[in-house]
Amino acid sequence: MDSKNTNDWLFEITPKNKFFSLNFKEIWQYRDLLMLFVKRDIITVYKQTVLGPLWYLIQPLFTSITFTIIFNNVAGIKTGSIPPFLFNLAGIMVWNYFTACLNGTSDTFKSNASIFGKVYFPRIITPLSIVISNLIKFGIQFGIFIFFYIFFYFQGADLSLNLSILFFPILIAFMGILGLGLGMTISSMVTKYRDLNNLVGFGVQLLMYISAVMYPMELIKEKLPKFGWIVQYNPLAYVIETSRYMLLNIGNISILGLLYTMIVTIAVFFIGLLIFNRTEKSFIDTV
């Protein structure tokens, strides 16, 4: 017998994916596509605009100014020795990264239906590319944060650093993974139930208010002892609070809270991956 007639198939197409099948080899093969998607996301957004990538900076700056006026000047939230503008900028920057990842990935199947309907590539490449391109966006915003940090430092603000800043990249990675996990879950469910799309829109807005973006976590416990637990059980609040601790040396770091955040993030990511895997094979029939 010819050896070719035995069962040495390169691959098989079957009705369902296996349980957690994440084919790393295949993703590696398509790494160039991943990078090209990132490039596409970055360069096409601001083509034919005058300000170009400056738009990445305008949005957080203006939001920080607005927050500073409303929450700090009008509502009187105290930020200690830290200039309120810098306090808000740090929170908004990290929060923006999460929402950009979530919003971008939660639309994966619907907005890419025309491509997914014609060619095969590992579908996970698309949400991954969104998380990475948003990371680059975050990097640009981080640049402007450093600029204002130095600016306020020379203005005589009482700014100090601690060693925990070394762990900042890991914190951001967790924020991205959490956004990705949630986004993958939602994107898979949106293919069948479009209702979720509407939910994400205003849900994210509401979520911001319980994620300690414009106030220190301590404050909510102090002012609303009854509802403080909502913020305390929100893993996002820990990430934001911790990132402010790392960048501005303000607030405190809760190891237990961070551990809780990590567990939730990993759980959300694997649930997302599982649902995404189940959906990717035949979503095109329902989308």
């Binding site: 010819d2 198939w9 390169l10 197409i13 139930y193 029939d285």
Partner: protein, 426 residues
């Protein structure tokens, strides 16, 4: 010794009809409930075969049912069938865009598809950037693309525009560029669907030539889906014919093409029995046929040839004078023409009982390329009464040709208009 590179085993694909949304949740819950009790999916059992014209009883249809075939290395397999036969569904499964409901495919080579060229083209990006993006979507690495970049640009013939955003391209240029990228893919198995319908003559020739190179020269396997039987015959070595989601023929490409035409030929003739025939109190229709220039039954007619429509009827009662009418519709249901048999002998003299035939001759070089449907009427004059007018009796296809004698001549692009006569230019 057979070298099987691709093997399809019992592939079936079920689709849900109607609105997806209402009842999805309840069906999902029901499915899940059956699953946890270890029972079969209740929705897999029901389902009609996919015949669009008849109304089924179930919300689920089988777009494909138990498809089995094997492809050998280097073979060019033509997949033919009417619209809705399941060709595109099969290609979607082969290119992993959607999964089969049951069954599976085994492959010994990478599959790349040209389901629709230009997938993932981004209008804001330049031609060059799009070559990389599109190539990567189709499964090439950056290195592979870089090494072939010059060839791709040259093949596309878009050198001048290569650094211009694709949104400024004409549709023809976009297709050229997209096909060029795809043509330089190097998968073991290439899936092609009707890409040749676009582009001008020169480019089509190039594209067909490239496909021949791929299959013959480089020994790669191609799965080709097309309605263009001439292209199928010239490119393919083997054919499968699909009908209502089932393989009705697998084998030699000539026989497959004949099978496809045989199957269609039924539209070129119609027979009625006593109950079903259109009739009046004195006359009933027996049959209708579309004939070619040699008086043979034929569905496909070259644009230059005349087409004969023959109706045969039986006179049931003597003493009636009448005449015949004929209407022609195209596949968009546009009424192309109407004709009355104004000088019929049956207007002067009532025919005796018996069987009669009437022929209508549609001249060549009149109708544009397309599918037509005929209706037939029996009328009386003075007073004007339509005894019956039977729609959609028989149909035929007019197939355009190239060359000096046709209205089209050597032009190979889109040729609009519902009629295509040769006019005098002075």
């Amino acid at each position: 010794m057979k070298d099987i590179i691709l093997k399809a085993e019992n592939i079936s694909k079920q689709y849900r009809l109607g609105q997806v949304g209402t009842g999805t949740l309840s069906h999902d819950l029901n499915r899940w409930w059956h699953k946890i009790r270890g029972k079969e999916n209740p929705y897999l059992k029901i389902g009609d075969t996919n015949d669009r014209s008849t109304k089924g009883t179930s919300d689920y249809v089988w777009a494909l049912q138990d498809i089995n075939f094997e492809v050998e290395r280097g073979e060019v397999l033509g997949i033919i069938g009417k619209n809705g036969a399941g060709k595109s569904t099969l290609l979607k499964i082969l290119s992993k865009v959607t999964a089969p409901t049951t069954g599976g495919i085994k492959s010994r080579g990478r599959i790349a598809s040209l389901l629709e060229v230009g997938t993932g083209f981004n209008g804001e990006m330049t031609g060059r950037e799009n070559i990389f993006l599109n190539g990567a979507i189709l499964g090439m690495t950056k290195k592979e693309i870089t090494s072939k970049l010059d060839e791709i640009i040259e093949f596309s013939g878009c050198e001048r525009y290569i650094d211009t955003p694709v949104k400024r391209y004409s549709s023809g240029m976009t297709v050229r560029l997209a096909f060029a990228v795809a043509a330089f893919l190097e998968p073991e198995i290439l899936v092609v669907d009707e890409v040749l319908a676009v582009g001008d003559a020169e480019f089509q020739k190039k594209a067909i030539g490239k496909m021949q190179d791929i299959s013959k020269g480089e020994g790669r396997t191609v799965l080709f889906v097309s309605h263009n039987m001439a292209a199928v015959k010239s490119l393919c070595t083997k054919g499968i014919v699909l009908e209502h989601g089932k393989v009705i023929f697998e084998g030699n490409v000539e026989e497959a093409v004949n099978k496809y035409f045989d199957d269609e030929k039924q539209f070129a003739q119609k027979e009625w029995n006593i109950e079903s025939s259109p009739k009046t109190n004195f006359l009933r229709l027996l049959n209708a046929k579309v004939l070619n220039e040699n008086d043979e039954l034929e569905l496909n007619h070259s644009i230059t040839n005349f087409i004969t429509i023959q109706f045969t009827y039986e006179i049931l009662e003597e003493g009636n004078t009448f005449t015949h009418g004929f209407n022609l519709f195209n596949n968009e249901n546009i009424h192309i023409l109407s004709s009355h048999d104004k000088k019929s002998l049956t207007l002067e003299q009532a025919p005796a009982k018996g069987i009669y035939s009437k022929k209508i001759i549609i001249p060549g070089n009149l109708l544009a390329e397309g599918t037509y449907s005929c209706s037939f009427a029996i009328m009386r004059y003075n007073p004007f009464v339509v005894e019956f007018h039977e729609m959609d009796i028989v149909g035929f296809n007019v197939i355009d040709e190239f060359g000096g004698d046709t209205a089209r001549g050597n032009y190979n692009g889109n040729f609009p208009g519902i009629v295509r006569p040769i006019l005098n230019w002075k």
